[in-house]
Amino acid sequence: MKYFNPEELLSFLKENLPETILDSNILTRKAGVKQEEFHQIWLEVKKERFRDTVKMLMSLQFPHIAIIAGNDTGESVDLTYLFSIFYGEKFKEISLNIKVSLDREKPSIESITDLIPGAQTTEREIKEMFGVEFVGLPEMRNIFLPEDFPKNIFPFRKDQKGLDELVQKES
């Protein structure tokens, strides 16, 4: 397996995925007395091309998915997939954070659980907390919310203010 540095990884993705990357940024920070550098790459990709991006990463090394962070901005639901790649060697690993912006009225994206089965837990969490539809997700039950939780309430959307409101809506 060939290890890439962050610039190489970014140009590899840009070359092989035309019309996919909307925005990219490499964040470099230093650690320790020796001031060694470590890197985080932030990408924003088109929703339709997200699956291809993951497939492209898989051709390099099986990417580790940490979690999906959701953000309801009021206009859109933004998902940030936190990946890490090139693990196994000192200083080689790169954190790769891929943002996808979804329509707030009907947020929907293709599931990646067939590529990375470990993504199931986090996709289920985002589904129930933000109301995002993952097309192809094999397990549709709630994971953290109770089964009888109201189906049209998504607690981590910004218009939900807390328990009082939820209780009132239900009763």
């Binding site: 320790g32 060694e36 979690i67 890490s84 693990y87 954070n97 990375i116 837990t121």
Partner: protein, 407 residues
């Protein structure tokens, strides 16, 4: 398969539990056919609470995500904010952070070893392990003021210094653990009855560990060389030489079973001792926090804009925090992920085709919260009769199996 959810009568808040959860097993005779995991009984909405708090207040909230990992979550959170806002941490603070985090690893792994021994029916080993663990808790109390929830992390550094008077006391503890390590190795790794109960049990293959995104000792025991301290070193780890520990170092082979997970954890206790030793030998001089005035720090954070990810290798695996700052008092997004979250899915292949009596040790082998398996539903697929086993009954079954083997 039964799809009934059971409310677990432990929690919602208890210092030693991360999340109570339900397991539904489908059993054929004595073997598990499949398992259904139902977490969420202890979802406290901590990230939601974080929306109404400022960054410094969130540190203390993050600390209370878990009582055992109470250095790991604030460590990862502080790093996320520092990465987002571009705050530099003084080298001395980086070293103190690592000392505290590694002391936590020692106490967490030894606590786990005791629990695992209890699941197998060796109560005396539980008492031995937890007695050994007291030493590090006393040291943590001396250094931070608290046995758990240390309250030592701050954005841009730490809140308490390690002084000259502390150093001999830390060395004494390190010597104590060097001696104790031999005992731990003898009782856990060289004992034939523990090997009989754990070898070939709860296997997670390399492929499965990779595909199910497992982390920490669970992944390393299956041969995945993944450790944030090695892959993307941060703080003082960047100056040290750390290698991810896989079981082949000790036994020469990787099986991915419960025994291998014990090997990884016992060896990591020794690794932590070495890390702390290097840290206190090379402790740099200087400040312990980049901005000691809290009001000024909050003012800076209020003006900060950007996203950051903070990662830390907690005892159970990688902890990752994501923070988005947007020029306001509260963060726009705060997402925290504990290692057990990623180790949920690997439970399924581990538990499949295991005996009912092996459930406790397999579940405990990823080091989850102890109360997770408080109640288990068993469906006998031949008679379709449902019965609920309590934790005590399950432990009885497990203990009985150990006794049978020893006879």
């Amino acid at each position: 398969m039964s799809k009934t959810t059971y409310k677990i009568p432990i929690g919602p808040i208890h210092p030693s539990l991360e999340e109570p959860m339900t397991f539904n097993f489908e059993i054929a005779g004595e073997r598990i056919q499949s398992v259904d995991l139902l977490p969420g009984d202890n979802h406290r909405g901590i990230e939601f609470m974080g929306r109404n708090r400022n960054i410094v207040q969130i540190i203390y909230l993050a600390e209370r995500i878990c009582g055992i990992c109470s250095a790991s979550h604030p460590f990862a959170f502080c790093r996320a904010v520092e990465n987002a806002a571009g705050i530099e941490v003084p080298p001395r603070a980086e070293y103190i952070r690592v000392v505290i985090a590694e002391l936590e690893r020692i106490h967490s792994h030894i606590l786990w070893a005791g629990v695992a021994a209890l699941e197998l029916g060796f109560s005396s080993l539980l008492y031995l392990s937890w007695k050994v663990r007291e030493e590090v808790l006393d040291l943590l109390e001396l250094l931070t003021g608290n046995r758990i929830n240390y309250g030592i992390f701050m954005i841009g550094g730490v809140r308490r210094d390690i002084t000259e008077e502390h150093i001999p006391r830390i060395r004494k503890t390190l010597e104590y653990y060097k001696d104790a390590y031999q005992t731990l190795e003898d009782v856990f790794l060289k004992d034939p009855s523990i090997a009989l109960r754990t070898k070939g049990v709860g296997i997670l293959t390399y492929e499965q560990a990779l595909k199910l995104a497992s982390v920490g000792p669970t992944a390393r025991a299956s041969g995945v060389k993944k450790d944030v301290r090695q892959d993307q070193p941060y703080s003082a780890y960047a100056d040290l030489d750390i290698k991810a520990i896989t079981p082949d170092v000790f036994s020469g082979e990787v099986n991915g079973d419960v025994y291998d997970r014990i090997i990884v954890r016992v060896l990591e206790v020794f690794q932590s001792v070495q890390i702390i030793e290097q840290c206190i030998n090379n402790l740099p001089e200087g400040d312990i926090v980049s901005e000691p005035k809290l009001a000024k720090l909050l003012g800076t954070l209020k003006k900060a804009k950007g996203e950051g990810v903070g990662r830390h290798e907690a005892p159970r695996g990688e902890v990752i925090h994501y923070v988005k700052l947007n020029e306001s008092e509260n963060p726009e997004v705060w997402k925290a992920r504990a290692p057990t979250y990623n180790n949920l899915m690997p439970w399924m292949p581990m538990l499949e085709n295991q005996e009912v009596a092996d459930i406790p040790i397999v579940i405990a082998s990823i080091d989850p919260c102890i109360g997770c398996m408080d109640r288990v539903t068993l469906v006998d697929s031949q008679t379709n009769k449902k019965e609920v086993l309590t934790r005590e009954e399950l432990i009885k079954l497990s203990v009985a199996k150990t006794r049978r083997i020893l006879k």
